[in-house]
Each structure stands twice: as structure tokens, then as C-alpha cells.
Symmetry: none
Subunit: 414 residues, 2 copies
């Protein structure tokens, strides 16, 4: 089963909005075992809509269209669909009643443009939109389906989940597809590839492995197409390969599927009733903001010091003036004193201390831009490392944050 | 001039990542006066890449490809481009030297997969990638351009900005298009639209106004198509309309074009030799990370306290136990005490203090999720406000941060 997604709207082509609908649809369809063959974003233009529809229908069993519906005059998808399916708009009296009630409830009088939304193609099935005034339209032709939905994300999602997906499931026999994501941190994609080259080359033809890198993290995705009969075997096979990979790079694997490292760290801390604080210099609060992005983090995350200045490092974290003079703020000695000061002051179980040169300026021959020291530990033990990241300030901040979380995770698992 | 964008990668089709590259490219190309005709996301599949390339080249002067480059074996764009342009991969010795140095600098030995990245198509122009190991490739055929770039967003953006856009400008005669962005903060797009409705309706046909909202900020973009002869007149006209808009909503305008509010704040502080610190609770370091994202911020940004727990609020910022008991941590009284404590402790000229309920839990009838108190000021004066943002944790954190910066900016301009 193949699907194409068409998103209609100039606002996507000029980059005014990011198309998040397609990713969401891709995920949902993929889970259903419908393979998205292509995603195409086009203009609010009749000729382009017609030709794209024609081309995609040649290659797909399903075509999902989002956008281009609504009361404003530049929305032309509905008219174009009538042309394509050789039909005409007719008034749906029951819908008009509903639309009038919708506006009444909001204290507004229905206008002509909104009345127009009760006119829908004669030969389609109307899929109700519980969240808005533009209904979805389900067309069938030669055992293929074209589903046109509004582009407003929460309206589209609601239509899919409450109406369209159940309808698809009831009408079509769908294939089985299995995904497993291995989440890694602290190792580059090419090193991972080298380490698991033999495992990868043993993968059967129906299982694919993809590397999805992101500044210090790599997601390894195993995907397998299977059948109802073979499903359990395939799951076992995928799990078996997943295990082989995890065993090979075990220190860098922190979880599976949608897990985040900050979530896994949070769960470990919660389980043991332990707490964490951070002392950040070059990362400037990014580690704190990552840790605190997790709902409920207040149970283990006490807070942080962002000590950008020498004075704050000394005053808040008891870094010695002598240390700063002798070794500088970007040094093993400084981050270790920051860590000690942090833990002794906050009484948190664990701490992270980071100091580095994010750039673009501030680098020296001995410590170029991208030099970062990270120390993690508790009141008795610590691990301190020097890293050399990139020339780019933003990247250095993210790399430093990810490696700090990796070091903490490693420390927690000792 | 028409362009197509092709993004290659199963991870987009299955919705594992949202394609943000295309929106960014769409924006940049639009500014250059190149119209994006379509955006197509396809699989890492040779046949599909070939047919998509062929089809898009029929309709476009430029084809931008992102993704499908990298050292792992599932990256096949490079090989497919060789096939399409009837050429072969050759070793680029100079590139290999650079790649070796890249890995050496990171304390790693180059492996075979990375050596493979020095093999590139014979008949293309190599566009260097300063941020990664996969180079971009520029092909020309029948006066049309195909540019293949890695899919990692910051690598792709850097290649476009530092190499590809200058090359496009030098090689092609692009239409004259003038853009002016008015950067606003702290006012919703529909309120702005209402306030400037008369100005907008007076815009001549060749000048368009777009609203680009983003969680508390709205970018107003004026775009005008013009000719070489008319250019100066058009610039004057755009500036005139820009001035009218700025005069109407002057308190919410913080800058123009690519300026960031944190940059403008930094410049104001630098000019007066003043300093800033922050005390954050629900924003968990996000304001600090925004302030510290600006190179050179150490001249005015001393640091921050992220006081998530009651204890840290009391210990670090001298918030009174009584205040917390009586009014709670999310209260006018608490943020004002946080601000006072912050400034008296750090001796910074200005401070920002934030406390709120980011959600999803923790809301009450009186203070539902999204309730946020922000106080900004100096040692003598402060402004404190209560906001009611959304039900979404991430959005609340960003809204709070943006409104805190807006309040600080307003305070600085008094």
C-alpha cells in the first residue's frame, strides 16, 4: 500500500510555515503499514493541483491532501477536486444547519463565505470536521482513495484519528511494519557504523538500518516489512538484531524509540530519590533548560548556577581566585572546583559542571574555540574530560550539553 | 526563476523528522527572488531520485537537494547523481587531506567510510562544507543548476549562506526584490493587523505584507518586486510604509531584518556599560541560554540562578519562607523577592525573575497551567506582570522567555 501526501499552500513554499502535517501523517500511516511514497508541497494553483493529483494517483493507493480549504477566496482545492472528479458542488442542508449552530455558539453571524462551506462535491463522502468549518472529502476512484482535509494541524489530526483512520482500517487490508529505534549518545555515526559493520551486513533484505545523527546523538532505526503470519518472527528478528547492536555499543545506548536522554536520567534519579544540579558557563543554561523540559522534573532537578563571570564562579561556587589566575576558567581545575562548590552548596546528589570556549572569539593556540571541560560526579567521585568540538558557537553549546548528559548518564550507571 | 526542492530520506517520509530545511530554503530563495515551485520529499531510492530529478528539472531552473549524503552506506544520493549526470566518482586528494585534518583535530583516525567522502563526481563543482564531512555538489546542465547538499540543517544553512547564495547571485540575473522585516514582540498578529489595517490597505500592488508569528513575536515582512530602474524609488516607498507601521506600534518594535531581541538588549547594555542577571524557575534556564547565545555576551551577562526548588529560591535569592507559604512560588510577591535577591546578590544593573506553571500538571483553579509571573527591573524600580499563556509546556517556556525579554527591553528604553 503506497500513499502520497500533497500539501497545498503558498505559505509552505515561501517558508512562512513549516509543514508539520506531513510528518505527523507520515508517522500515522507508517504505523498503519501504509508506506508514504512521497510528500509534495505545491502552490494554491489549479493547474498544479490537477497535474500533481494525476501524477500521484498513478503511483499511490492513497492520496492525502491537506490545506487549501477554508472560507477565504484563495482556497481553491475544493473547486479543483470537482474538476478532477468531474462533479459539482451541491448544498448540504444538514451541514448548513450545523455551520449556523457553530457560529451561533461563538456569538457570530454566519457570513457568505462560511455558507459556501456547506457546498461540497456531489460524489464524495463527507468526513466531518469536529474542530472547524471546512469538512474533509473522501473520493474513491478505481479502488484508490483521495482524502482532502483542512490544513489546520489540530483539525486535520482530529479528522484522521476519529474518522479517517478507522475508515481506512475497515476498508483495506493493511500490511504489517515494525520499527525499532536504538537511541545512542556520545559516539559519531561513522564510528558506530564501523563497530557494527558485520551486524549490518547480516541484516536480511526486509530489515533496513538507518543512521539519524544530531550533534553528539545518533538514532539507529531498524525497519522491517512483514506479514500477519510472520509478524511475531519478524519482531523477534528485529529484537535480535537490536540486541546485537546494543551489546556492541552498549555504553552509548541510553534508550529506545521516543526516549530522550534527559528523560532516562530523570527516571534514574526519581527511582533512587536522588537530585541533580548544574553549574554552567559556556553552555549558558542550555543543560538546565534540557533537564527542566521534562514534566515533573521538579522532583529531582533543584536548579542551576549559570556562572558566566569570574566573580560568580568564585562567589557562588567557591572557585579559587588562584585557580582562575593559574589555569583559567576553561580548565580541568576550574570545572572540578565548580562541581565541588555546586554539590557542597546545594547538597544535590549529583552535579554537572561545564566551562569552555563556545566562540567565535576567546580561543587561544592552547585552547582553541570549541575547547570544553566537563566534570560530573557526586560528593565523593567525579569524572572530568576535555573535549574539542567545533568552530561554531551554537553547535559547541549543543555538543557540550549532550556530552555532559552522556557523562552524567555514564556516571549514574556505574 | 523557478526552483524545486527535493529532500531525500525515509526519515522524513515516515515522519521521524520534520523537514525544516525546505521552509528555510523557501524563505531564502524567496528573498532572492527565486520562486519555489514545489517541495518534494522522497525515499533513499535510486529510481525515485532519478525520476524526481528528471521531472523537476523540466519545470525548474534550480533544483536543491538536501539529504542522502554521509558516510554510511544507506546514503545513495551521490551515486545516483553520478548516474543522472553520466559521470563517475573520483578521489579529490585535497579534500582527503582536509578530511584527515578534520578527524585528527578531533583526536580520531579517519575510517574507510569517511575516506569515501573524498570521492566525488568528476564533473561537478564542489561546494565546501565548513561544518561537516559531506561536501555539497553543484551540477550544471542546459543552463540549469542542481545543488545537492547534506541534510543536517546547520551544515546546509552554512553552505547556502557562505557559498551557494553568493554563487547564485554572481551567476544569474535575479529579479529585483526588496524585503524589509519589522521585528515585533509582545503583541499578537491579529491585534497588529487591526492596528495597521489602513496602512496595509494603502499598500501598492507590488508591495506585499506578510505576518510571521512565533510564540510572542511577530515578524512583519514587506516585500516589493521592482526593476533596476525603479529600485531606489521602491526602497524609499518600502521604507516609508515601514515607518508608518513602526510609528503605529512603536512600543513593540525592537528591530529590523535579522535582529534578535537578545542582541538588541545586549547592545543597549554594552553601550551603557551595564550588566544583567536572571533568576528563573519555570523557564529553567531558557532565558539564560537565549541571552548567552550572543557572542561576546560575557561583557554584560554575569550569570543566572535557576531556582527550581523552594530551598534554592530561599537560599540563593532570599525569598522569604513566609512569602512562599502565603502566596506560593508562582506569585507577584515571590518574583519580586527573587528579583530583589538577585540584584542585591549579584550587583548586576538589571535583573529578570520568572516563576510560573509550565504544565502539564501543577495548575489550580486560581492559577491554571500557563500562569506566569515576570518581574524585571533594577535596584530601584521594577515592573511585574501576570500572564496567562497556553496549556502546552514547551510553548509556555518560550512565551515566558519572550515576554520577559520584551519587558526588559521596555524597561531599558524608559
Amino acid at each position: 500500500m503506497l500513499a502520497s501526501i500533497i500539501t497545498v499552500g503558498d505559505e509552505i513554499l515561501i517558508g512562512q510555515i513549516v509543514d508539520t502535517n506531513s510528518a505527523w501523517l507520515g508517522q500515522k500511516l507508517n504505523e498503519l503499514g501504509i508506506k508514504v511514497h512521497q510528500i509534495i508541497s505545491i502552490s494554491d494553483d489549479e493547474a498544479q493541483i490537477l497535474s500533481t493529483l494525476e501524477n500521484t494517483l498513478k503511483e499511490s493507493d492513497f492520496v492525502f491532501i491537506t490545506g487549501g480549504l477554508g472560507p477565504t477566496k484563495d482556497d481553491i482545492t475544493k473547486h479543483t477536486l470537482c474538476k478532477f472528479f468531474d462533479t459539482k458542488l451541491v448544498l448540504h442542508e444538514d451541514l448548513l444547519v450545523k455551520l449556523k449552530a457553530y457560529f451561533e455558539k461563538r456569538g457570530r453571524v454566519i457570513n457568505e463565505a462560511n455558507i459556501g462551506q456547506a457546498y461540497l462535491p456531489e460524489n464524495c463522502t463527507i468526513i466531518p470536521n469536529a474542530r472547524g468549518t471546512a469538512q474533509a472529502m473522501w473520493f474513491e476512484k478505481d479502488n484508490k482513495v483521495v482524502l482532502s482535509m483542512p490544513g489546520v494541524p489540530h483539525e486535520m489530526k482530529n479528522i484522521m484519528e476519529s474518522e479517517a483512520i478507522p475508515l481506512i482500517k475497515s476498508k483495506f487490508e493493511l500490511p504489517e511494519i515494525i520499527h525499532k529505534n536504538i537511541m545512542t549518545i556520545g559516539m559519531g555515526e561513522s564510528i558506530i557504523a564501523e563497530k557494527i559493520v558485520d551486524i549490518e551486513s547480516n541484516l536480511p533484505k526486509n530489515i533496513k538500518l538507518a543512521y539519524l545523527p544530531n550533534l553528539g546523538k545518533v538514532r539507529l532505526r531498524l525497519s522491517a516489512y512483514t506479514t500477519k503470519v510472520e509478524k511475531i518472527n519478524t519482531i523477534n528478528l528485529v529484537n535480535n538484531f537490536s540486541e546485537q547492536i546494543v551489546n556492541r555499543i552498549t555504553e552509548n545506548v541510553y534508550g529506545f524509540d521516543e526516549q530522550k536522554i534527559e528523560e532516562v536520567i530523570g527516571q534514574l534519579l526519581l527511582k533512587n530519590n536522588e537530585t541533580i544540579t548544574t553549574a554552567e558557563s559556556c553552555t549558558g543554561g542550555t543543560i538546565a533548560s534540557i533537564l527542566s523540559s521534562i514534566p515533573g522534573c521538579s522532583a529531582y532537578y533543584l536548579g542551576s548556577y549559570i556562572t558566566y563571570s569570574y566573580e560568580m564562579k568564585m562567589q557562588e561556587l567557591a572557585v579559587k581566585q588562584e585557580t582562575l589566575n593559574k589555569y583559567g576558567a576553561v580548565s580541568e581545575q576550574c570545572v572540578e572546583e565548580m562541581l565541588d562548590g555546586l554539590i557542597s552548596r546545594t547538597k544535590s546528589t549529583y552535579g554537572i559542571a561545564v566551562s569552555g570556549i563556545a566562540g567565535p572569539s576567546g580561543g587561544t593556540e592552547e585552547k582553541p574555540v570549541g575547547t570544553v571541560y566537563i566534570s560530573v560526579g557526586d560528593k565523593n567521585n567525579k569524572i572530568t574530560k576535555r573535549y574539542q568540538f567545533t568552530n561554531n558557537r551554537e553547535d559547541n553549546i549543543i555538543y557540550s550539553s549532550n556530552f555532559a548528559l552522556f557523562m552524567l548518564y555514564t556516571f549514574l550507571k556505574r
